[in-house]
Amino acid sequence: MPPSIHPVDLIAALRDKSLTPAIVFLTSRRACDEAMEAFDHAQTVLPPARQEAIAAALERVIAQYPSIAEHPLIPTVQRIGVAAHHAGHLPSWKIAIEELMRQGCLDAVFATTTLAAGVDFPARTVVITQSSIRKARDFMDLTIGEVQQIAGRAGRRGKDYVGFAVVTPSPYIDLGVLTKGFTGNPEAIDSQFTITYPMVLNLLKAHQHNQIQAILAKSFAQFQLNQRAELLERKLDTLHLQMEPFGPRVCTDWITQWHTFDQARRQKSHRHQTVRHEAPEMTARFHFLTPGRVVGLNRGRGVVLRQYRSKGQKSPMVTILRPGGAVTECPAGIVTEIYDRIFDCEEQPGYPWCTAASFDELHYQLTELPTRLPVLPILVSKESEPLPDAIVQSLGDFPCPTCSSRSACQKDYLIASRMRQEQQRHMKSIQALRTSLWHRFQERIDVLQKFGYLTPESQLTADGEWARLIRIDHSLLITELIRAEAFTGADPAVLTGIMASIAHDDDRPGAFPRISSGLSSLLGQVRKLAESLSPYEDPPLLRADIAAVAERWVSDPNLTWIGLCRSTTMAEGDIYRLLARTLEFLSQLHTLKATHPGLADTASKALALIRRGVLEELP
């Protein structure tokens, strides 16, 4: 049996049960195109009346968007009443297909899941062939929300009593993901607030430095951080109650007193204990490395299973569960990032330091983590912990041995000190949750000061004044290029090429051999600068083939769209999106006319040259 149903059979089955019109969601654009090709030899052809209806509807769309008049798929679509719709197509072609679908001319559309959001493109039936989608280079299971968004296309109000979602398997499908998606409640959503350089510049342009914290406090991010802080505060309240029996005794702070005494006692018996030199950052972080905590490591992530101090090691140690299921013992120093995420972890005294169920659960959760996690900013307390000094006291200084509460202290010390540690940890977490946005903002300010966009008093410098108008991705790279006068003397085509390579963020392979030497050497310069900025801003891909495509379109005004498409392996929809995004980037440069008239002028020439043919059809 074939691993999945043949597209022609699929459509036949749907037609047979009157389940058309249908949207068939496939994993990739290629799969959509191949499905269309499968109809090349199919016998089923639409009756003439329906073919004419499609032709007439298409004609109306073509009148508005002439670029699709010669579209190679038109004859197939007319003959079989089935079309493909994905990001590799021109927007105008997609509009045409949407229009045909709305008018009921088509029986089915093969589409990728990008169609799921927003576009009013309903059908009687959706066919689902996958349970995961590609997100940032990795396949991720569909969320419940995504499954429902896809299923939401099934059933047209006013045209259907019911809608159908039909699952048909392909080799890598996980039916459980889909049944959970159909029957579950959509996931809660979380803020993804980040602080960008343009945000900092624009906020500081309009507000005083001391007003910013209040503005950041209005974000959904802070709203959600507060929710978490309140949860911890409630835990603190409970702890507070539990601590009541361990209040002041003969000494007010008997816990510390006993702790110091106990240390001194031990110190005496092992004179030659290893001396620990720990950076204060390490000490501060160690509080957070508790079982269940998600941490970032040099390579990948892990969950802490336990923390301990080992006699032989100078630094504190942690046991970490890695995504592959490996359990490793490592010095706490290898933890690069402490994430604001803790999973439940039922501890257990022996390997693997938690119960088997916890282990499985943690392991599973680790693979399910989103690609981006909020980082816990760790505040390093200035005053170092006083203990090591106290140890030099001689035992004779302690009242403990003869104190009346000695046995009570000895008995309660372990539990009381544990609770107090937990209290302190919660308090630190709460403080971190309340102030983390502000700290992140400060970090950005530091960078902008270092580069001279802000004065030490956090006022905009002359450069900051214009730099705030660049509000796109990679803004730091772009403004630094402008300051380095990298674009002086660049013609519109070269400027377009550079902007295209900065704007493009897709790593789909493409091929385009010819690039002018001017663009190539400038691109080399841009790469160097981007590399040197990488501690402050992720560098863009800066692909030469992408730069070359955009340059070519601008440098040769007689080049037709078809000609451009033939010169590269990129899909035409991708070329369109590339140029459209480049237009946006260039028009940001155009806003700098007051301070950089030459650059703005080149940008506006480039804008005029790009906007022709297909790129003029839509706003």
């Binding site: 509009i95 996980d174 809660a188 439940d344």
Partner: protein
């Protein structure tokens, strides 16, 4: 045992056993379907197939001994120890098997057809959203295809009658274009403008359509003192598809837009179903001049039925019931279950059955 034999033996095992084998061997094994799991297991153990085999045998024996243990009815053997919270994962939940037969295909297909045209009557939730908007900000969270556009259009109409400017934003240029066409048809093309990163058409019209980034930029400029009359008369800001606030790259733009939205303008957030719309509404209440109204429901207007189409062309209902058994992912139709298991068996990893 040869690789092929081992693959076959693996294929005969329930997926749960494969997952246990994969523990510590294969990354992300929870993601993989049975077939892929087998591929990955064998690939991982190419140098130590014997190890894999002996682990597998041990698991099989363990399972058989459990199955064969006679179960006295009064004192049933507890199921394999699983912590209570693992039940969040549907693949592991073991719902009691219902013995009732599933719905028939004919019953499942019933209702197929075209309803007679009805005069347009707004849904109660649409009225509720519009009524709310007369006083305050509104967050709408309803399933895809429920009719959020109607709320946007009517709200725009009302704001326009008060000589207010309306800004409508969407996350995608393609959506903006569609809405531009749609709104131009409804309100007349002189009443609707569109702003994109590089182009402005009819930018002084009372209804302006743009992507959310463009609106954020307008608000930046206004905050730093640039005068924009359109913002002075702004009466309504509609953020369509506002579940984008959770987009890893662009979500921040929605937050900024909402934070900087002038307080004299009403906010209308239109979102697909999300799990925590109340949080969004509470957040708006905490930062906006008046308490936000939440309009939500999760019932689809056109009911959904789920089916399973086997590669051989056989169609069956996916669940026991004709409708979706909300909250019960395990209620698979016996026929669908049988066919899918057969599919998993048939698509063996050795490559014999590939096209």
């Amino acid at each position: 045992m040869t690789t092929d034999e081992l693959a076959q033996l693996l294929a005969q095992q329930p997926v749960a056993i494969l997952h246990r084998l994969a523990r510590g061997r294969v990354q992300r094994h929870f993601r993989a379907g049975k077939r892929r799991l087998i591929d990955m297991l064998i690939q991982h153990s190419t140098n130590n197939l014997a190890g894999l085999e002996s682990d597998l045998q041990a698991l099989i024996e363990e399972r058989q001994s459990r199955v064969q243990t006679p179960v006295p009815p009064a004192n049933p053997v507890p199921p394999r120890q699983t912590a209570p919270h693992t039940s969040r994962r549907p693949t592991r939940t073991h719902e009691p098997e219902s013995t009732e037969p599933g719905v028939t295909l004919t019953a499942w297909l019933e209702g197929l057809g075209v309803p007679t045209p009805q005069p347009f009557v707004p849904d109660p939730w649409q009225e509720e959203a519009l009524a709310g908007l007369a006083e305050t900000d509104v967050v709408v969270s309803v399933p895809t295809g429920s009719g959020k556009t109607y709320v946007a259009v009517e709200a725009a109409r009302r704001a326009m009658s008060e000589n207010r400017t309306i800004i409508y934003t969407s996350p995608l240029k393609a959506l903006s274009n569609t809405k531009f066409t749609e709104f131009s048809k409804i309100f007349g093309s002189d009443q609707v403008g569109i702003l994109t990163g590089d182009r402005q058409d009819n930018a002084q019209a009372p209804i302006l359509i743009m992507t959310t980034e463009i609106l954020r930029n307008l608000l930046y400029d206004a905050a730093s003192g640039e005068i924009d009359v359109r913002l002075d008369t702004l009466g309504l800001v509609i953020l369509d598809e506002s579940q984008y606030i959770a987009d890893p790259e662009r979500g921040v733009v929605w937050e900024e837009t909402i934070i900087f939205c002038p307080s004299q303008a009403k906010l209308l957030l239109l979102s697909a179903s999300i799990g925590n719309p109340q949080d969004i509404a509470d957040w708006l209440t905490s930062i906006r001049p008046s308490p936000c109204r939440l309009v939500r429901h999760s019932k689809r207007t056109v009911p959904l039925r789920a089916g399973y189409l086997h590669p051989n062309g056989k169609l069956t209902p996916l669940f026991r019931t004709a409708g979706i058994p909300y909250g019960h992912p395990g209620q698979l139709h016996p026929e669908a279950k049988r066919l899918f298991l057969q599919y998993e068996e048939d698509t063996l990893p050795s490559g014999r059955t590939r096209r």
